[in-house]
């Protein structure tokens, strides 16, 4: 088979792994593809590169395609999400003085109890509380808003969510520009190691199944290039499956650590895959279980209801109509394209393309394309649910 090159953009983070692994471990080559991986210094840069056609596909924060569909943020052509690249993988941390105050007040820093952590934080936080996130349209921002507003902290009076690019997060927390942050790895651990910060809560404790990064393409590209896009989706799907095998993680960390990719120590990457964290402030190590998921539980399936939740949250904050925003949002997550690409593989996909987000209080079995599908717990910490058919 002739090898076709595809330019694919990414931001150097541990959850860019499916794209890097697809190229390095031969999953792309098996589909007759060569991924020309292009590193971007910022999300806005990557969004523009995809918009004007410098890349054909990109690693992207799940809320960016939704925000673009709602006309929020910098102008861009529309995007479509053909796969989810990763579920969860964010961490909330505190500046040293705030962490010390919470420790002295007796908070246990288990990283998993969102209600307890949030109440303890609100009790001691300055007003307004300033939290740094990587981008205005990010799962980080959505999780922080949902968490603290559900616990009664109003925004913007008492909560300011501010954009701080992850490489600058350590400086911002040390300089007192922000009181807390929500960021992916390796940056949360870097803030602990170099900024005196302490970790407070794994993002998955707010929403246990939050779509974090997605594989985005320009609207219309996948339909215009059905063969090429299907090969890309399959290669990335197999890379995700490989990544979620425990044996793969050391090698994956080695690959990502290379100077041309993340250029950090492999051990910094591996601990994120294993869910082991140094809390900082002398509080010791914690194991949060699966910190980031690439494949298990059909993690790569782009549920329309995931986009619906994001759209509805963005609309509520920016004063748009929630129901119509949810509908525009849902159209960007192309579960149909994802499904068609994987039709003749061993992938077990869900029978439905939309579901009530937050309604699965335990791991369960749901009907799949062939046989049953393991469906992981999917709850919000406050018990809230998003029913796409209700809007």
């Amino acid at each position: 088979m002739r090898t076709t090159p595809i330019p694919v953009g990414y931001v150097p983070l541990v959850d860019a792994a499916p794209l890097i692994v697809a190229q390095e471990m031969g999953f792309a080559a098996a589909e007759g593809l060569r991924l020309d991986l292009v590193q971007a210094p910022s999300w806005s840069r990557l969004r523009d590169a995809l918009s004007v056609g410098q890349v054909d596909a990109a690693h992207m924060l799940a809320p960016i395609p939704v925000a673009t569909a709602l006309g929020l943020g910098g102008g861009a052509t529309g995007f479509e999400v053909v796969s989810v690249l990763s579920v969860n993988g964010t961490m909330i941390g505190l500046a040293a003085p705030l962490a010390a105050a919470m420790r002295d007040a007796g908070h246990g820093f288990d990283l998993l109890d969102a209600a307890a952590a949030g109440r303890a934080l609100i009790a001691l936080a300055p007003t307004p509380l300033r939290i740094g996130v990587p981008f205005p349209f990010s799962m980080h921002a959505e999780l922080v808003y949902h968490w603290l507003s559900m616990l009664g902290l109003p925004s913007p009076q008492s909560l300011i969510v501010r954009t701080v690019p992850p490489p600058l997060m350590v400086d911002a927390i040390t300089a007192g520009e922000i009181d807390a942050f929500c960021v992916g790895e390796p940056w949360a651990s870097q803030a602990v190691a170099h900024g005196g910060a302490a970790l407070l809560l794994a993002g998955k404790s707010i929403w246990s199944w939050a779509p974090e990064k997605v594989l985005a393409t320009r609207a219309g590209w996948a339909n215009a290039e059905p063969e090429l896009s299907a090969r890309l989706i399959r290669a990335v799907w197999r890379a995700g499956r490989w990544l979620d095998q425990p044996d793969s993680r050391s090698l994956a960390a080695e690959l990502l650590a290379r100077p041309e990719y993340l250029a950090v120590g492999a051990e910094v990457i591996e601990h994120a895959y294993c869910g082991q964290f140094d809390v900082g402030a002398g509080l010791g190590l914690r194991d949060v279980g699966a910190f980031v998921t690439f494949h298990d539980g059909a993690a790569q399936f782009p549920w329309r209801s995931q986009a619906g939740w994001i759209g509805s949250q963005l609309a509520a904050r920016t004063g748009l109509d929630r129901a119509s925003a949810a509908r525009s949002a849902e159209a960007t997550f192309r579960s149909d394209i994802h499904r068609a690409a994987l039709a003749r593989t061993s992938a077990v996909l869900p029978a439905a393309s939309s579901r009530v987000e937050g309604a699965f209080t335990r791991d369960s079995q749901v009907p799949g394309s062939h046989g049953v599908l393991h469906s992981p717990r999917n709850v919000f910490f406050d018990g809230s649910k998003f029913d796409p058919s209700a809007s």
Binding site: P41, S42, W43, S44, R45, D48, A49, V52, Q54, L72, G73, G74, G75, A76, T77, P134, F135, P136, R162, T163, V164, P165, P166, P167, L168, D171, A172, A175, E177, T318
Partner: protein, 194 residues
Amino acid sequence: MPSRLSIVIVEADPDRAKLIVDALRDAGEYDIHIIAERAALQRQIQLHSPDVVLVNEADPSRDMLEELALASGPLERPVALFVDRTDEALSTAAIEAGLSAYVVDGLTRARIKPVLDAAIARFQMVNRMRTELAETKKALEERKVIDRAKGLVMRARGIDEEAAYALLRRTAMEQNKRIADVAQALVTSARLLG
């Protein structure tokens, strides 16, 4: 007569910033501010209340400006990313030059275009200079490696410099590689063997 456009340039490197300022001064009369410090970037920009913000695409702090595009508080000015569908050729040229511009909503194209044209041209020039510098540096590095490899071959085989170079070149040609790569492999192996 509209008031002069106020332009903020976000650029940490003073030499680079000066080049852009010079280009803008040639293009017209503007109030220009340079912000070199990325901490509290949003606050600093709001302080100047600019009509146009120019930022280097390679800088991760660009994402901080996205927030300004959303700002709608009473003291904040609405800022829109110029790179949109209204002028695709200009937008694409800016992106390819590695330049991003945020522009206050409602400014006419006639007032913005000279600013962007000048900035794009200067960005392209600076990028070219940087590429050339990188190439020169690489060539120098390779020269050094080839010299060390030559020395190794001379000592091991007891031949003179010219013969050592000829041997390296022949090996490179046989293996369809560059001389610098063959030399690098030899230097690395020699280091491994002690």
